[in-house]
Amino acid sequence: MKIHVHTRVNGEATEFLCTPERSLLEILRDELQLTGTKEGCATGDCGACSVMLDGRLVCACLVLAPEVEGRAIETIEGVAKGDQIHVLQKKFLEHAALQCGICTPGFIIAAKALLERNPDPSEEETRYWLAGNLCRCTGYDKIIHAVLDAAADLRGGAR
């Protein structure tokens, strides 16, 4: 028996049918074709599937799909607005903060969540906030630089 779920994804009203045990990650990727959200572990340990659920940072693999009824989801596909990419996306490119790129969507979502709640994080705060996102390529160095630089840019822009 499938459940009819009504939600908003990246600002758009979205409906889908699912059996109760399916994860939000499976629905995003396999039913809604939003494959920018990645699966690295499906156990909530790597952060590759980071999405925002009603403004809260979650691992989509740990959310049951029927739980998103009536709620709002933001995925990596919703971070750029039209032809404008987000400052974080720009800084990741400028700082070469990605090598293979599989963890990048998760990092950008998680970093965006950080900057929304703390516009001026220290290096240490940034490292601890992003400790739920695994990257095996970069050693995190350039990612941390990109996030701190984006934060500085965003603060400058607000002035």
């Binding site: 059996t19 990727r29 396999d30 074709q33 939003l34 494959t35 920018g36 959200t37 990645k38 699966e39 690295g40 572990c41 499906a42 156990t43 340990d45 790597c46 590759a48 995925t75 990596i76 596909e77 971070v79 750029a80 990419i85 996306q89 990741f92 490119l93 400028e94 700082h95 070469a96 990605l98 090598q99 293979c100 790129g101 599989i102 963890c103 990048t104 969507p105 950008i108 290096e123 240490e124 940034t126 490292r127 601890y128 992003l130 400790a131 739920g132 996102n133 695994l134 990257c135 095996r136 390529c137 970069t138 050693g139 995190y140 160095d141 350039k142 990612i143 941390i144």
Partner: protein, 761 residues
């Protein structure tokens, strides 16, 4: 620092290489558009699932798939019996030793399951849930055998034997009859006994390191669509599309032209994606079902059934005179191969003393099978564990002799003209330069606090050449397309575009780099061995030079002069003669516009086997602080100095240094495969297999030394693998100095360090 030392070819002022443009595939990767292995889907697609052995060592008596096939939604079930027997032959083009017969048996077990997680059967069904349910309904009759789970168990008398028909190869003395020794080899030179007799100080130490995983974040994924004629199209995340094609064809017993492999974006590999796992399974399931099949490993499957690198037992002995000159070296390297022969012990033998001038050496290497996953290449395969032993012994020698650890290494460092312990004579190399740069780095002079220690360690890696193809075509408006066959695992598209831009003399933004499938570009070996920027870059440069020759010929035709009268400067054809006769230089765009009237489209090509990959050397500095109450180690500061030859895109060179260091720190401090008594890995997930996270690490400082590789037109030497060689020893040396203990085993986890501290107290 850019240490161009007057040698060719870096005298030249470069315009594009060495700059840091935004990578061409970057936008797709920060917006979620880039499609990785598991992101592909096709109409009518089925989901595959693999049934894996619950035993580490068992004979398979019978497999009954009737109940699985009867399940609604199940479209195909396959077992080892659906595959042909594959003859023993070397698996070419990948990284590290491999035998096709072993690869085939690793893809799916036949008579015996040789590790927990070994594939036994596979199912394709309309949903992943049904495929999982079907796997549960496959009845396998196992005769459970005693597993062999360590080197000591494998080499014990009366050890259970993994491969009854295999015999050890190599140098005598070898075990007689069946054993778990796949090979035992020796190499060396000089008179070791005399060398040690000449030494004033001799240090001998033993080390053990556990199996560790490459830890790429993207699990293996494949989508296969096979037609009724048996022709297959395969989308998969691999470091080598041509190797997937060749190996899968052999495992399936079909010719190469029956399989087309389209490499997707790849979410990390580090050597672990240079082989095949699910690809032949998906192809055969698709053939049987008549529908496309997608097969994606779970993280647990990645740990249990894909390429870790060897657990090792290494003994190293070094002798030195009072003034720090090494007199002799001896190494015994015993490496776990996992369930099938082919550990990277040979590379370990060749690298172990490679950085040092040693007249007298004896090296022994053992390749030993155990009931654990078959090892696969992992970044500088075999070298980090060997370097751990040598570099910690050197540190102890330095302490005993009262010498600075960098000075001791400088005293013995190899340089141009020295015969390497593994054979060849070094051409221009930058080892001494990395040592000097490390010694003069502010990091080396920074004060240390209580319970803090500084470790120094060096590393070497050969770097590979191998085969590559490249096409460069000129668009009608003078922009260009560069096509190669190497999946871009860390920014190589940008490097290819930079080298082409340099040769063509057009902005790097006007060059579009493309990764092609196996039917759209000539044969190309894996993205591995630190070879892409060197070897495929060489092909790109040759193809671009082919284009430039053609452009000069077009200009010569337009000007009615000989080809030799036309030069190529800064993206323009110029008449070399003093008397220009009114011939203004013709830009690439102008020549492109006239292409149709001067001979047709302009396409350059190159296909080559690259020789002369310049070896990579690195010197690392690591500061740690030890908590004597808990045994926890905090890495405070890290500096990686390495010779890049010429850094084409410095940001991605730095990224390679930093990434290798992070993996090495994880290997040193946290990561290990933990098995229970029956051979089941107990930590097959990211929560318990603890890779470094952002809060575990400091910023990783890098210094790019540039001693150009004379064998590459832009001076490039590979950079990807060397960075993981020194960190195991750099961290260990730092912890030993901080905690005033001697360590003999990795990882230096808190309980292990605490035990060492208690022992020394």
């Amino acid at each position: 620092m850019s240490g161009n030392d007057g040698r060719t070819p870096s005298d030249k002022k470069w315009k594009y290489i060495g700059t840091r443009p935004i990578r061409h595939d970057g936008l797709d990767k920060v917006t979620g558009r880039a499609q990785f292995g598991a992101d592909y889907a096709l109409p009518g697609m089925l989901w595959g699932k693999v049934l894996r052995s619950p035993h580490a060592h068992a004979r398979i008596r019978k497999i009954d798939v009737t109940a699985a096939l009867a399940l609604d939604g199940v479209k195909a079930v396959i077992t080892g019996r659906d595959f042909p027997n594959v003859a023993s032959e070397a698996a070419e083009g990948g990284e590290g030793a491999g035998d096709m017969a072993d690869l085939a048996m690793n893809v799916i077990a036949r008579d015996k399951a040789l590790y927990h997680g070994h594939a036994v059967a596979a199912v394709a069904a309309t949903t992943a849930r049904i495929a999982e349910e079907a796997c549960k309904r496959i009845a396998v009759d196992y005769e459970v055998l005693k597993p062999v789970l360590s080197l000591d168990e494998a080499l014990a008398k009366d050890a259970p034997i993994l491969h009854e028909n295999a015999r050890a190869t190599g140098h005598e003395p070898l075990p007689k009859g069946p054993s778990n020794v796949a090979s035992r080899r020796e190499m060396g030179r000089g008179d070791v006994a005399k060398g040690f007799a000449d030494a004033d100080v001799v240090v001998e130490r033993e080390f053990r390191t556990p199996m560790v995983h490459q830890g790429y974040i993207e699990p293996h994924a494949v989508l296969a669509r096979t037609g009724q004629d048996g022709r297959a199209v395969v989308w998969c995340c691999t470091q080598g599309a041509f190797q997937v094609r060749a190996y899968s064809a052999k495992v399936l017993g079909v010719s190469t032209d029956m399989i087309k492999v389209i490499p997707t974006e790849i979410g990390g590999g580090f050597g672990g994606k240079t082989t095949i796992y699910g690809e032949p399974l998906a192809i055969l399931l698709s053939r049987k079902a008549g529908r496309p099949v997608k097969l994606v490993m779970s993280r647990e499957e990645v740990f249990r059934a894909s390429g870790p690198t060897s657990g090792t037992h290494v003994r190293v002995k070094l002798g030195a005179t009072r003034d720090g000159k090494l007199t002799a070296g001896e190494a015994v390297l015993v490496y776990e191969a996992g369930a099938f022969k082919g550990s990277p012990v040979t590379a370990a033998m060749m690298t172990v003393f490679a950085p040092y001038k040693l007249a007298n050496v004896r090296i022994e290497g053992w390749d030993v099978v155990v009931n654990k996953p078959k090892v696969t290449a992992y970044r500088a395969p075999g070298a980090p564990m060997a370097a751990l032993a040598v570099e910690t012994v050197l540190d102890e020698l330095a302490e005993q002799l009262g010498l600075d650890p960098i000075d001791l290494r400088l005293e013995n460092a190899v340089h141009e003209g020295v015969q390497a312990t593994y054979g060849p004579k070094y051409r221009a190399i930058g080892f001494v330069e990395t040592l000097r740069a490390a010694k003069s780095h502010p990091h080396y002079k920074a004060p240390l606090g209580p319970n803090q220690g500084r470790g120094v360690a060096c590393g070497f890696w050969f770097n590979a050449g191998m085969s590559s193809s490249a096409n460069v075509s000129i668009n009608e408006d003078g922009s260009a397309v560069v096509v190669t066959g190497n999946p871009d695992i860390g920014g190589s598209r940008a490097s290819m575009a930079l080298m082409a831009a340099e040769e063509l003399g057009i902005p790097v933004e006007s060059v579009r780099p493309v990764v092609a499938d196996t039917e759209a570009i000539g044969y190309t070996d894996v993205t591995g061995g630190s070879r892409v920027t060197f070897a495929t870059g060489m092909a790109v440069i040759e193809a671009a030079r082919d284009v430039v020759r053609q452009l000069r010929a077009r200009a010569a035709q337009i000007w009615s002069v000989e080809l030799d009268a036309v030069g190529w400067e800064d993206g323009r054809a110029v008449l070399l003669a003093e008397e220009k006769n009114g011939h203004e230089p013709l830009s690439l765009a102008q020549l492109a516009a006239k292409a149709a009237n001067t001979g047709g489209p302009i396409v350059g090509r190159a296909a080559l086997t690259a020789r002369g990959a310049g070896p990579g050397f690195a010197t690392h500095l690591c500061d740690v602080e030890v908590d004597r109450e808990t045994g926890a180690v905090k890495v405070l500061r890290y500096t990686a100095v390495q010779d890049a030859g010429k850094a084409i895109h410095p940001s991605y060179v730095e990224g390679q240094y930093q990434g290798g260091v992070a993996q090495g720190i994880g290997w040193a401090l946290n990561e290990e495969y933990i098995f229970d008594k029956s051979g089941v890995m107990e930590n097959a997930g990211f929560l318990d297999y603890r890779m470094p996270v952002a809060s575990d690490l400091p910023m990783i400082d890098t210094v790019i030394v540039e001693v150009p590789n004379p064998m590459h037109p832009h001076g490039v030497r590979g950079v990807g693998e060397t960075p993981i060689v020194p960190p195991l020893a750099a961290v260990t040396n730092a912890v030993q100095r901080a905690a005033r203990v001697k360590l003999a085993e990795l990882p230096i986890s808190p309980p292990r360090l605490l035990e060492a501290i208690d022992r020394s107290a």
